[in-house]
Amino acid sequence: MSYRAILIWLSVACATLFLASLLIGPSGISPLQGLSALISGDGAAGLVMRELRLPRALLGLGVGAALGLSGAAMQGFLRNPLAEPGLIGTSAGAALGAVIAIQTGLYAIFALALPLAALAGAGVAVALILILAGREGRALVLILAGIAVSALAAAATALVLNLAPSPYAAAEIVFWMMGSLADRSMTHVALALPFLIVGAAILLRAGAGLDALSLGEDAAASMGISLKKLRLQIVLGTALMVGAATAVAGAIGFVGLVVPHLLRKPVGARPSRLLPASALGGAAMLTLADIATRVIAPERDLKLGVLTALVGAPFFLSMIRKMGREG
C-alpha cells in the first residue's frame, strides 16, 4: 500500500471511530436521534451529545494524536524504538500539577484549576529538562535529565498522596492518575486545543532533521541540520502536546510507544513519514480504546489509562522479546 493510501485509510478510520464514539454510550440514544440532537442541540439528548459525547470524542482524537505524534518524534530523535513521549518528564510534571490541584481542593472551587495546574507542572518539567540537558547536550543527556525529572515528579506526587487530607482525596488522586476522557467538557477541549495545534505544528516540521539523524548526530550536522534547534523542537513540541494531553486526560501510557512501532512496517522506517501517520494512528487507537472502555464495562467506569496499559504492556513485552531474538 502506498504511503498516501495508508494516510487516507488512517483518516477514514479516525472519522469512523469519531462517529462511533459520538454514537456509543450508556444513555440509550439511537444513532439517528443522537445525530439530529447533536445538530439541533435540543432536549436532554442534545445536552448529552453536545456537552458529554462531543468533547469526549474530540479529546479522544486530540489526545491520541498527541501521544502518537510525540511518540514517533521521540523515537526518531533518540533513534530508539523503545522511547516514549513521557521520557522527557512532561507527563510526570503534569501529573504532579494536577495532583496538587486536587490535594489543595483548588479544583473543587474552580474546575479548570486542575488542567491549568497540570499545564504549569509540564512547563516546569520542560524548563528543568532544558536547564539540565544544557544547550549543547546530546540525546543521552536529555534522556538522563528526563529520567531524573520524572523520578522527582513521581516522588513529589507520592508525597502529596502520602499527605492526602482524607481517603476521598487520595482515591480521587489515584483515579485521576489512571487517565480517562469521561465527563470532560468543551472547556477542556478549548483549553487543550491551542497547545495541541502548536505542538503538532512544531513536531511535524522536524521530519527532515529526524531523517538525517538516522545516520547519527555527526552525519546529520554535516548535512546542514542544526542539532540544537532540532532538540529544542522535539522537547518543546512534545512538552506542549503531552502536557496538554495529560492535563485534560490524565496519564495514558503505551499509546505513544506502540503506535509508531505498529506503523513502522507498513509506512516504512523514515521518521518524517512516521510522524503524520502516528498522529492519525494514535488518534484512531485512543478513540477505539475509549469506545472499548464504554462497551466492555458500561456500568463500571473502566479507566482509559488502565485499558491502554493492559493491552499495551503485553505488546511491549512481545516487542522486547522479538528484539532479543533478532539480537
Binding site: R79, A208, D211, A212, L213, S214, L215, G216, D218, A219, A221, S222, M223, G224, I225, S226, R264, G268, A269, R270, P271
Partner: protein
C-alpha cells in the same frame, strides 16, 4: 575548495590538532595518514566546523546548509538507525538541496548508486546488509550530496580488497571531475597508489604534505609510523609494502 589557516582543536587543555595550515584544490585526492590518535578525525571535524576549533577554516564559517552543499562528511561510525531502504538512505544526501526527490535529485541518487555499483541493492533494507555493504551505501549517500568536496573518515576500513580499490577509484573519478576528496586511511599502499597528495599527521601536527613518493621516505616512516617498508615505483604504479616495526 578548502583552506585551513592555523587550525587547532583542543580537548581540555591538550591540542589534538595543533596549528594546521593547508589547502585543498580542485582535482586533488588527498590521503590523510598518521598513526592512531594523531588527530586525523579531529582535523576533518574541525575543518567542517562540527567541533569547536581555533584558527580559520574556509568551511566552518558557512551557514550549515551552504556548507553541506560545499562539503560532504562521511563519519567513521557507520550508523544506520532504522531499516531504511538503500534508495531512501542514499536520498538523504539530498537534504541540503531541499528534498528535491524528483528530477535532478532522483538523477543524483541514481548516479550515486551506479557509481558505487549498488543499482541492484536499491530496494534492500540497509540494516540487513553486511558491514562492508553498509559502508558502501553510506559512501553513495555522500556522493548523492553532490558537493564538490568530500571529507571521509576511514571509508575503506573493513572493505574487501576489490571494494577498497573500487572506492578509491570512485574518489579519483570525483577529483578528476573537478571535485576534491580528503580521506583518512591506514592502508599506505592504497594511499600511495591512488592519492595525488598525502597529508601526514603526528601528535596533532601536520608533519608532511606532498606527493606520495616525496612523503613516504624511510626517515618519515621510521619517525611517524615506526615501521620499515618497501616503496618502489613499478611500471604498474607505486607499490608500498610495510615490512616490520622498528620498536618504540
Amino acid at each position: 575548495m578548502l583552506e585551513l589557516d592555523n587550525l587547532s582543536v583542543l580537548r581540555g587543555q591538550c591540542p589534538v590538532v595543533d596549528s594546521v595550515s593547508a589547502q585543498v584544490d580542485a582535482g586533488e585526492l588527498i590521503g590523510l595518514i598518521g598513526p592512531n590518535g594523531a588527530g586525523k578525525t579531529s582535523l576533518m571535524r574541525g575543518a567542517l566546523g562540527l567541533i569547536a576549533a581555533r584558527g580559520r577554516s574556509s568551511l566552518a564559517g558557512l551557514d550549515p546548509m551552504a556548507r553541506a552543499r560545499a562539503a560532504a562528511w562521511l563519519p567513521q561510525a557507520r550508523e544506520i538507525a532504522w531499516g531504511l531502504s538503500v534508495a531512501e538512505l542514499v536520498a538523504l544526501g539530498r537534504l541540503p538541496h531541499g528534498r528535491d526527490t524528483q528530477g535532478a535529485g532522483a538523477a543524483a541518487v541514481e548516479e550515486a548508486l551506479r557509481r558505487m555499483g549498488l543499482e541492484t541493492y536499491r530496494d534492500r533494507t540497509a540494516t540487513h546488509l553486511s558491514g562492508g555493504e553498509q559502508a558502501q551505501v553510506l559512501i553513495a549517500r555522500a556522493l548523492a550530496q553532490e558537493s564538490p568536496l568530500i571529507l571521509a573518515d576511514e571509508p575503506i576500513a573493513g572493505l574487501d580488497p576489490a571494494a577498497q580499490i573500487a572506492t578509491m577509484e570512485v574518489f579519483e573519478a570525483h577529483a578528476r571531475a573537478g571535485g576534491a576528496v580528503v580521506t583518512s586511511l591506514h592502508d599506505l599502499g592504497l594511499a600511495a597508489r591512488h592519492c595525488t597528495r598525502l597529508w601526514v599527521m603526528d601528535r596533532g601536527r601536520l608533519v608532511a604534505d606532498g606527493k606520495p613518493q616525496e612523503v613516504l621516505t624511510e626517515q618519515l616512516l621510521a619517525e611517524v609510523f615506526h615501521i620499515r617498508a618497501h616503496f618502489r615505483i613499478t611500471p604498474e604504479g607505486p607499490v608500498f609494502q610495510p615490512l616490520s616495526t622498528l620498536g618504540i
